[in-house]
């Protein structure tokens, strides 16, 4: 089944039936390996929509980016499993109303991380990518490479448990179902097995590259504060320099701010111009939230976000005895 065609049909139908005023989808980007967000408001525009391995953007960010634009409008959105959880979280956090959203689930086999592809080409520019299913072919000036799909998928996708939208109005194609993915936490466990000094060195190496462009924050569907804590300036909450203590504190606090809210979509990591392994901390926090509070962000539309809740009998071994 051709997901792109089905998606187009679905969007057209929703627009024709006036069930949505606007539909958020993806279209082919200006660069190889890239898709770009598409705002559809007419049936014609729907023909530009695509869905493939390049469609990494979590479109739910647009609900909170420009609130006025979405106020009192019916908005449709194409979602991967992770994106759907963001939509749910936005609903739980009163940013949008369920009745104003039409959620269209698309079957997701993972999206690629461009940086991973580029890392395979020895500095050569990639001009084309062909998705063969289990493998992909990457072509450039005077070379083509056959790569295993797992080599180029976003780290978030490799650790994905819920590839399908759990909350949707329309689902296109076949759902993949829950992926057991037993090794999903391997990276975390491996990292935890290192000594504190080793972990510190690695963390510092990552985060001292940060240039404070905030692409990670701005592509994050859970980061919708009008003024981010890092931008608070009366008083200044944290330093804005590139000193690694400043950058690390920014990222640690951001991680805590998305605790119980991070859907592990990986958008931050893919957006990072400095290729910082941002997901590592996000996933660690999500793991703690699940282990301690039994909560998975955005999975339950009737739930309560973990950090707005508590139980009296929670584990508290970390408290001094």
């Amino acid at each position: 089944m051709n997901t792109t065609n089905e998606l187009r049909k679905s969007i057209k139908a929703l627009i024709a039936e006036k069930k949505v005023d606007l539909f958020l989808a993806w279209e082919k980007g200006s660069l190889p390996l890239t898709a770009t967000p598409l705002f559809v408001s007419t049936e014609d525009q729907a023909d530009r929509a695509v869905f493939d391995v390049t469609c990494g953007n979590n479109l739910s960010i647009y609900f909170t980016k420009d609130r006025k634009q979405f106020a009192n409008r019916k908005v449709g959105i194409a979602v991967k499993g992770c994106d759907a959880r963001s939509v749910v979280l936005n609903i739980l956090e009163k940013q949008i109303q369920r009745e104003n959203v039409v959620i269209v689930g698309v079957p997701c086999d993972g999206v690629l991380d461009r940086k991973k592809v580029l890392a395979k080409t020895d500095g050569r520019e990639v001009l084309e990518l062909i998705d063969n299913g289990e493998t992909v072919t990457v072509k450039g000036n005077g070379f083509d490479l056959l790569l295993n799909r797992n080599e180029i998928l976003s780290s978030s996708c490799l650790a994905c448990t819920y590839p399908d939208a759990q909350e949707y109005d329309v689902f296109i194609g076949d759902a993949r179902g829950e992926v057991p993915n037993e090794s999903r936490l391997k990276e975390i466990h491996d990292f935890q097995a290192l000594s504190a000094s080793e972990r510190w060195d690695k963390t510092r190496n990552e985060y001292e590259r940060c240039i404070r462009c905030y692409a990670c924050r701005n592509v994050c569907p859970s980061c919708y504060c009008n003024v981010c804590f890092v931008d608070q300036n009366d008083p200044k909450w944290i330093g804005s320099t590139c000193d690694y203590t400043d950058t690390l504190i920014f990222h640690v606090i951001r991680n805590l701010h998305v605790a119980g809210r991070c859907v592990e979509c990986g958008a931050c990591q893919r957006a990072c111009p400095m290729d910082i392994d941002l997901l590592m901390l996000n996933r660690k926090v999500a793991m703690e939230v699940k282990d301690r509070f039994g909560d998975i962000a955005g999975l339950d539309i009737n739930g309560k976000p973990a950090m707005s809740d508590f139980r009296e009998d929670e584990k508290q071994k970390f408290i001094m005895g």
């Binding site: 944290i238 970390f318 001094m320």
Partner: protein, 139 residues
Amino acid sequence: MSEWQPRILAILCNWCSYAGADLAGVSRMQYPPSIRVVRIPCSGRVDPLFIMKSLQSGFDGVLVSGCHPGDCHYISGNYVARRKFAVLKPLLEFIGLEPNRVQFSWISAGEGDRFAKVVTKITEDIRELGPATRLVKKT
């Protein structure tokens, strides 16, 4: 190194832990002169950023203490706080901060001895680690 006295920021809730600290003093219990106390209404007021900022500012450790579960003067502030700490603590350890730099405790208004013990313990822990370097912003 034995002469080195760590400086530890202690963020104490007004109703239990701060009162416990007072009681320790009133009872003349002796504990290391390492802590620098900040009084706040409730452990629920503690934003993890407080802890990060204190470490960056050069404190060798941070202790946050509130009322025991169920004792909160504000009913549930300590439960709300506990969720934050429960995520913060493993995250700080994960990034490679020494686990004992940041610690949490529950100390009631009647537990002067416990306060003294907790301070003694965290001071020993931090003395063992030496002066803070990670996360400290160089001036």
